[in-house]
């Protein structure tokens, strides 16, 4: 492969590397040059006010959004393109889909498939995408539901589950593809405060198992306890980054200070 490898550049294995990532929707510039690195096995938290571009950046990582400029690498491979010499070739839909198998995503609004039961939701991708057998996938799906504490809800449809339960099924669904990277897009923002804890417990458990996670969140407590790195974004740029405890307790920038004073 002629593409640049970002593995083994001194600081351990990089799972995600962004170099000057730009993204605009029509005339609106949402990302104005994002540079960051996510190491394998770490929990990387993205915080910032709404409209700061953190969700958009997350969606760029699995190519749900196309970036306009810059380079974005996942596990050493360019996202959405193939590079030969100094020319970029767009990947075919099939190739993009192949890469997405390794990246799990959890959405703010769960996006469970409403016409399938919980266990069918979890089985769907292994059976349809990987071609795994139904029996095996079902067994695995029930194990995953057990892991998120919902083994007894396997036969329930999403509409029969609470928001917190739906989100935990969504996490199990993403894990069923054995991803090497998990993306969380404000996973607790649509939940009743009472149900947030259950979802965070599952995520904490996942972090302890060594999963690489990029988490867009407003849960500062989670970021402080579980996070290994934290980035504060505003207006499409990274304002401040560092270890969560340092950034959250001792922010350097004015903008970070004023944001944190409102949310903490």
């Amino acid at each position: 492969m002629t593409e640049k490898t970002v593995k083994d550049n001194g600081s351990g294995t990089l799972m995600v590397k962004a170099e000057g990532v730009h993204k605009s929707f029509g005339p609106v510039q949402v990302l104005k040059g994002i540079d960051l690195e996510v190491k394998a096995g770490e929990v990387f938290c993205l915080i910032g006010p709404s409209g700061s571009g953190k969700s958009t950046f997350l969606r760029c990582i699995n190519h749900l959004e196309k970036i306009n400029a810059g380079r974005l690498y996942v596990d050493g491979e360019l996202v959405g393109y193939r590079q030969h010499g100094d020319k970029l070739y767009e990947l075919r839909d099939r190739e993009v889909a192949l890469k997405r198998r390794d990246i799990g995503m959890v959405f703010q609004r769960f996006n469970l498939f409403p016409h399938m039961t919980a266990v069918e939701n979890v089985m769907e991708a292994p059976v349809q995408v990987k071609g795994a057998s139904r029996a095996q996938s079902k067994e695995r799906a029930i194990q995953l539901l057990e892991r998120v504490g919902l083994a007894d809800k396997a036969g329930s449809y999403p509409s029969q589950l609470s928001g917190g339960q739906q989100q935990r099924v969504a996490i199990a669904r993403a894990l069923a593809m054995d991803p090497k990277l998990m993306l969380f897009d404000e996973p607790t923002s649509a939940l009743d405060p009472e149900l947030v804890g259950d979802v965070l417990d599952v995520m904490r458990d996942l972090a302890e198992s060594g999963m690489t996670m990029v988490v867009v969140t407003h849960e500062m407590g989670f970021a402080r306890e579980v996070g290994d790195s934290l980035v504060f974004m505003d207006g499409g740029v990274v304002v401040e980054s560092g270890h969560p405890r340092e950034v959250l307790t001792n922010p350097q920038h004015e903008r970070t200070k004023s944001f944190l004073s409102k949310v903490l």
């Binding site: 699995n62 997405r100 996006n111 498939f113 016409h115 769907e124 349809q128 995408v129 509409s159």
Partner: protein, 312 residues
């Protein structure tokens, strides 16, 4: 609270009411009584008029299960099913074409829908039948070659005329259905690594069906009735047969009533089928499926006998 004390003292079958239940004299709706009487009177008058008319009602049961009528019913049903099949398959194809990012396919689909929705189906039928003026014979190379007039049988005319017209309507219904599914579903499926085709087949279409099925049921019922137009291209479906029998048996009006009764019977049967189909596609979207009529009857019977058991 005093209510709690009363509950233990009162008879067992009185519900544990909180405050005393309201007993008020309901509003009297005299207007409703008047309108009901007027409506019933009108209905009786109409029925009486028909019973006194010069119609030989006895001819209807005589011919109701006549072989020719039954054959006509069979052809009407076959025509409905096949035309709807062409319509649904063509409609899905056109809807996907219209939603595609390719400007050529989406404009072709738009043009097709514009043309076939914009002209009356009766005109389309007659045009198909007379297309021999444009194409004197049909030549598919070594496979098939014949004169247009012998190629374009009444059945084929009917199928093409009804099916292609229906496809235009079904396309709009399918498009509305596909658009009704939340975009988050596509994103979730893509994020799991599913291809466009798989996403459409496994995730989008099953959910779109909830929106597509009810209007499609209407289309089936409409189609069943529209098949009567096919009588103009010499195809002997129910309406044509009824007219033919009417002319030879000397009971033309009676045979029209007979045809109407058959159409009503068939549309009623389709409506029942539609109910169960809608119920199937509602799974997962509503917490509890609506009960089938049979379940309602059983529940009522059970609750009746249950109540008897309590009081006895």
């Amino acid at each position: 609270m005093t209510v709690d004390i009363d509950k233990t003292a009162g008879p067992a079958d009185v519900p544990p009411a909180g405050p005393e239940a309201i007993r008020a004299i309901p509003v009297r709706h005299y207007g409703r009584w008047v309108s009901a009487v007027v409506a019933i009177a009108l209905l009786v008058a109409i029925v009486y008029a028909f019973s006194q008319g010069k119609i030989n009602w006895g001819a209807i049961p005589d011919y109701f299960f006549d072989d020719r009528v039954l054959q006509g019913v069979g052809k009407t049903l076959m025509l409905t099913v096949l035309s709807m099949l062409i319509g649904v398959v063509g409609g899905i194809l056109l809807a996907v074409m219209r939603l595609s990012k390719n400007p050529v396919t989406s404009s072709i689909a738009w043009f097709y829908i514009w043309f076939f929705r914009g002209t009356p189906v009766l005109v389309q039928l007659v045009v198909w039948f007379n297309l021999g003026l444009v194409f004197t014979y049909i030549d598919l190379g070594p496979i098939y070659k014949d004169y247009w007039s012998s190629f374009m049988t009444p059945l084929l005319t009917a199928l093409l005329g009804l099916g292609l017209n229906e496809a235009a309507y079904m396309a709009e219904i399918c498009r509305a259905g596909l658009l009704s599914v939340d975009e988050g579903q596509t994103e979730a499926a893509h994020a799991l690594g599913m291809s466009h085709g798989k996403t459409l087949r496994r995730i989008i279409i099953p959910q779109a069906m909830r929106v597509i099925v009810p209007p499609t049921g209407n289309e089936v019922i409409n189609m069943l009735k529209t098949t009567s137009l096919v009588s103009v291209v010499q195809y002997s479906e129910l309406f044509r047969v009824a007219q033919d029998i009417g002319q030879t048996s000397g009971a033309p009006a009676e045979m029209l009533f007979l045809a109407a009764a058959w159409y009503l019977l068939l549309t009623s049967v389709f409506s029942v089928g539609q109910f169960y189909l809608e119920r199937y596609y509602a799974r997962g979207s509503s917490r509890q499926l609506p009960p089938t009529p049979w379940q309602k009857v059983r529940a009522n019977v059970l609750s009746l006998s249950g109540r008897k058991g309590v009081t006895a």
